[in-house]
């Protein structure tokens, strides 16, 4: 590898792989795969909605793990990972709700309904936005990391609730999809896009964590009391 390539941060290669996979997965999903029998062309939202849901819940689960690791080990790196996961997780859940609404209107007949899956997903978004809001209020880095970690662990309670909501309660939202319920020609774009979003999320979390680490390393320098360049000295 040449020197120029070595200077590229590792996460950019993951991000590049994610973008390429997203392109391939979207092509297969939009062109190669058949339309859904009853939903027609609009059923293709499946290929981005389900991967987004998987990776959103995974990212917020990693946020909870990082939060626990901060509380246990107290290494600042865990706070960097936790803030990256929380921020990227919020973006993914927001995307998830928009995709779901777009899909729901033509198939279910409504943009939104307060069924348990949709309600718990909306709570998930608001809970993690609240984590970031709390974080913004704490100046001291050590206490900020601890408060964020505790709030993240509380908000992350909703992650399994969102996942299992379709099992625990009656919902308008469909049950889990599995290889048995998705035709073989439709699972390929689903899987490609799942890896694409996994790589893209990893890329963004790593970038955000790196930014947090660099910020931590910078010291705010006070200006010298007297300029060294005052004439006459």
């Amino acid at each position: 590898m040449s020197g120029a390539l070595k200077r590229v941060a590792w996460e950019h290669w993951v991000g590049l792989a994610g973008l390429v996979l997203l392109g391939i997965g979207s092509y297969v999903g939009l062109v190669e795969a058949p339309p859904e029998r009853y939903m027609g062309e609009v059923g293709r939202i499946l290929y981005i909605h389900v991967p987004t849901a998987w990776i959103a819940l995974l990212t917020l689960t990693v946020a909870a793990v990082a939060a626990g690791m901060w509380l246990w080990k107290r290494r600042p790196g865990w706070d960097d990972v936790q803030v990256g996961c929380v921020e990227v997780g919020i973006i993914l859940v927001a995307m998830l709700l928009v995709q779901g609404s777009t899909w729901a209107r033509p198939t279910w007949g409504v943009f939104w309904t307060w069924d348990p899956r949709l309600t718990t997903a909306a709570i998930l978004l608001l809970a993690f936005i609240a984590v970031l809001a709390l974080r913004a209020f704490v100046d001291d880095a050590y206490r900020r990391a601890t408060w964020t970690a505790v709030a993240t662990l509380v908000a992350a309670v909703d992650v399994p609730i969102v996942y299992y909501s379709v099992k625990w309660w009656r919902t308008l939202h469909q049950d889990f999809s599995s290889p048995e319920t998705v035709a073989g020609s439709m699972t390929l774009p689903l899987r490609i896009n799942a890896f694409a979003l996994l790589f893209l999320a990893t890329w963004l979390v790593a970038r955000r964590a790196r930014l947090a680490r660099l910020k931590r390393g910078t010291r705010v320098l006070e200006p010298p009391k007297r300029s060294a360049l005052v004439a006459g000295e």
Partner: protein, 154 residues
């Protein structure tokens, strides 16, 4: 970390774990109901509180399967009569909502409205509950598939 801080963290974890366990195995699962089945709605209609709720014009959701052969189109695209069944009980529904494209015989639906004294459920909102099955069209079917009985899609 201070002793007080550690107690706070442990308390947060205990509350979080407790909340998950409560939701998973607790009574909330039975009390949080997004829609009623036809059996539950008809049982409720026999109880005294049904009359009191009717005075307050309480709206409920009813969910089940559209009984095959029960769809009757009235005037215009949105005037519909059909039967919702859960296999055990049936409720006749009169809907004035424009049905989603996926509305057809045998599919799951959730309607919002009230059960009238004549036993007909009057609804102004009709939602289609899609299963988790995703299949390509069968041989010869066009992607813009229409019901075999020729009933209008919308």
């Amino acid at each position: 970390m201070t002793k007080g801080g550690r107690v706070g963290v442990v308390a947060a974890l205990v509350v979080a774990a407790g909340a998950i366990v409560f939701l998973a195995v607790g009574g909330l699962g039975k009390n949080l109901v997004y829609y009623w089945s036809p059996t539950e709605l008809l049982d409720y209609a026999k109880r005294p509180e049904a009359a009191r709720d009717a005075e307050r014009a309480a709206v409920v959701r009813l969910g089940g399967e559209v009984k095959p052969g029960s769809i009757v189109h009235g005037d215009g695209a949105s005037d519909l009569t059909f039967v919702i069944t859960d296999g055990a009980a049936e409720v006749k529904v009169h809907s004035t909502a424009v049905p989603p494209q996926m509305f057809r015989e045998g599919i799951g639906v959730v309607v919002e409205g009230r059960l009238g004294p004549d036993g007909v459920f009057r609804s102004e909102q009709l939602m289609v509950k899609h299963g988790n099955d995703y299949r390509p069209p069968k041989d010869g079917e066009k992607p813009d598939w229409k019901p075999e009985d020729g009933s209008p899609v919308l």
